[in-house]
Symmetry: C2
Subunit: 372 residues, 2 copies
DNA sequence: ATGAAAGCGCTAACAC
DNA sequence: GTGTTAGCGCTTTCAT
């Protein structure tokens, strides 16, 4: 069917290990050994093989190698979306960490869809990658059973708990507590939680962060005003997510942290006449939108209102004013996740269900300078 | 070495096609045929196979399939960095487009390094993916020879020309011309080009955009002031890039478009006392930094100064003020690139060296509203 | 309509 | 030290 258009000369197929062995006058085993740095080999043999490989321009076919050895040299990374900058920054670091270990990364954007998250899990059975780094967002308790298997797996974040695999977590509660404490120290008493969630039916990053906020207020004996806890409007704009919601029975729609939602939440809060002296945002994206909206309404930051947030995206340094934000340890998460996968690859199967926490740190900027 | 911790029962290895065939009482060929929707098959056979597959929970091993069939179902995407938001947005679309065609995407971040770009090319010989979508940034003319091969390849952007493969390009010159014309129509006469490049020794996105700017000015008989063309400072902060520069003989260091560089260029320009009534930025990232700096210096936008840019990142809607920017067709590029790869996969080899252009459109926002 | 057999290119026992 | 052999799990002629 296909008529390859190559040079007029007879099609020279890509050389195999057999060709190399033949040219070098040795067996394929020796070539294989040579390639895997087998130590017990005569220097002359080694040299002959080296030359043959060079002459033929031989390169290992990783497909064949993977079929035989069971390893593909690929790790799958399943994240909600690369357009959520946090995940783009995380993915970049995962790719870098994997490369350092000689691995490639297949990125699966699950597009805010539970179905796609489950698909990325199911894909592991197809064996095209050695392990899965999964950052679930919409999977549910009942989906945990599908994570069973003996392939290397690492789960990120707070969407799921009790997963049968290493689980990398950030100190959401402590980080938000520290951030809230910072605002309290600065004298704020009406701290709005932009993107907070009082719904405790399921644990999520939102509910954990809300918990940190509540604990800090409780410790400082500052009363909680429920009106200051502003959830992300559900399904504001996202079609894909809507589709997914209709698919999952009993699924409670949750909103997505976007700049637009950040603006919207702030606009509505002010419309309702709710006064605040600080905004603690669920993440930087919401904060960016909030800053934009506050600016439009002529609110002075940090004089009238302090704004703090979480994720410490690169962009946080360039907003007006620059944004005080918590770095939750992207670099560490990436490195830790890749290492956990490779440990499992080396160990020949699924790792223990331990939880690994990474460190956080507050980066103070103009929107809420550190207090003395 | 490895002591798998599984159930006490004997380890049941993942079922192969042979197991399915055995259980269904047919040959492996029939199972294979079933899986590839072979039409001439008795309904009863089909059903027996279906049941066997279901009972065993059989899933095809893509490694084996790929070794035999030559297809891996994976496309490699090599881009400079996911932290450059433009590329994150592009990658997201490539992943989505590939998924629609049943393909996965291996993302290689070449980290602003010529060496990594060449590595992603060399990796194709290893056959772990069916094709490469390459967005080169630092490769040079002399590297083009390395792109020879009969694997599917698509090249994006203006870093390279005369590549032996389909090449997807955006209308850089025309887009900048249109953008410049818009500023001229608005009455601007001193338009600074932030991130422009007068160096014509090699064609690059920067030089093309600069060309569009110059052409528009020439057509309008507006004199060019070389002081208004502000290049990105070379190697401002990037270590990785520095390494690479030292490696490539005769390599001319180029700067990277970052928010920081955008701020810096504007700061220096004002320090030098150079007056402008508009800023045409090489891309949104530079523009974001520029807006930040202008804001700090108390410049009113668009009253004192108009600002326009290219890339139309999501963020452009949320800056203060929101940014007029050109959409260069990310969606179309992604779809076109994936299709071009798949055409080559189907055709059995490298496609012809045609150039495909995608469309652009200006999105007018606060930083430079459309003029009547 | 279905099956037998021959590998895809490599690695891993195990001989020698 | 090096070679022989037996597959990894699948697709693909080619018979029947």
């Amino acid at each position: 069917m296909s008529e390859r258009t190559t040079s007029a000369v007879a099609d020279k197929p890509t050389p195999t290990m057999r060709d190399v062995a033949q040219l070098a006058g040795v067996s394929v085993t020796s070539v294989s050994n040579y390639l895997s740095d087998y130590p017990y080999m005569k220097q002359t043999t080694r040299e002959r093989i080296r030359q043959a490989i060079e002459m033929l321009g031989y390169v290992t076919d990783e497909r064949a190698r993977s079929l035989r050895s069971g390893r593909t040299g690929l790790i799958s990374l399943a994240i909600p979306s690369l357009t959520q900058i946090y995940f783009a920054e995380l993915a970049e670091r995962v790719i870098a960490a994997a490369r350092r270990r000689g691995y490639g990364v297949t990125v699966e954007s699950t597009a805010f869809s539970r179905r796609h998250e489950l698909e990325s899990v199911a894909a592991m059975a197809r064996k095209m990658s050695d392990g899965l780094i999964l950052s679930p967002l919409l999977m549910e308790r009942r989906d945990i059973a599908r994570l069973a298997g003996d392939y290397p797996l690492v789960v990120l974040g707070e969407c799921l708990f009790d997963v049968p695999a290493p689980h990398i977590l950030v100190h959401n509660i402590d980080a938000v507590k520290a951030l809230t404490q910072h605002l309290l120290d600065a004298g704020c008493r009406r701290i709005a939680l932009i993107g907070g969630a009082l719904d405790r039916r399921r644990t999520s990053t939102e509910t954990l962060r809300t918990q940190g906020y509540l604990e800090a207020l409780a410790q400082a004996d500052v009363p909680v005003d429920a009106k200051l806890i502003r959830p992300i409007p559900a399904w504001e704009t996202d079609e894909e997510a809507k589709d997914d919601a209709s698919g999952g029975a009993g699924y409670v729609g949750r909103g997505i942290a976007t700049r637009r939602n950040g603006s919207e939440i702030v606009r509505r809060m002010f419309e309702e006449g709710i006064k605040a002296d600080a905004l603690l945002c669920y993440n930087d994206l919401l904060a960016f939108g909030a800053l934009r909206q506050l600016r439009e309404m002529g609110v002075r930051i940090p004089d009238d209102l302090r704004v703090v947030s979480m994720d410490n995206l690169e962009e946080a340094q360039y907003t007006i004013p620059s944004l005080t934000s918590v770095e939750l340890g992207k670099e560490q998460i990436a490195q830790c996740a890749v290492d956990a996968i490779l440990e499992q690859v080396a160990g020949g199967g699924r790792g223990a269900a331990e939880q690994r926490y990474v460190d956080f740190s507050i980066h103070y900027r103009e929107s809420s300078p550190a207090v003395a």
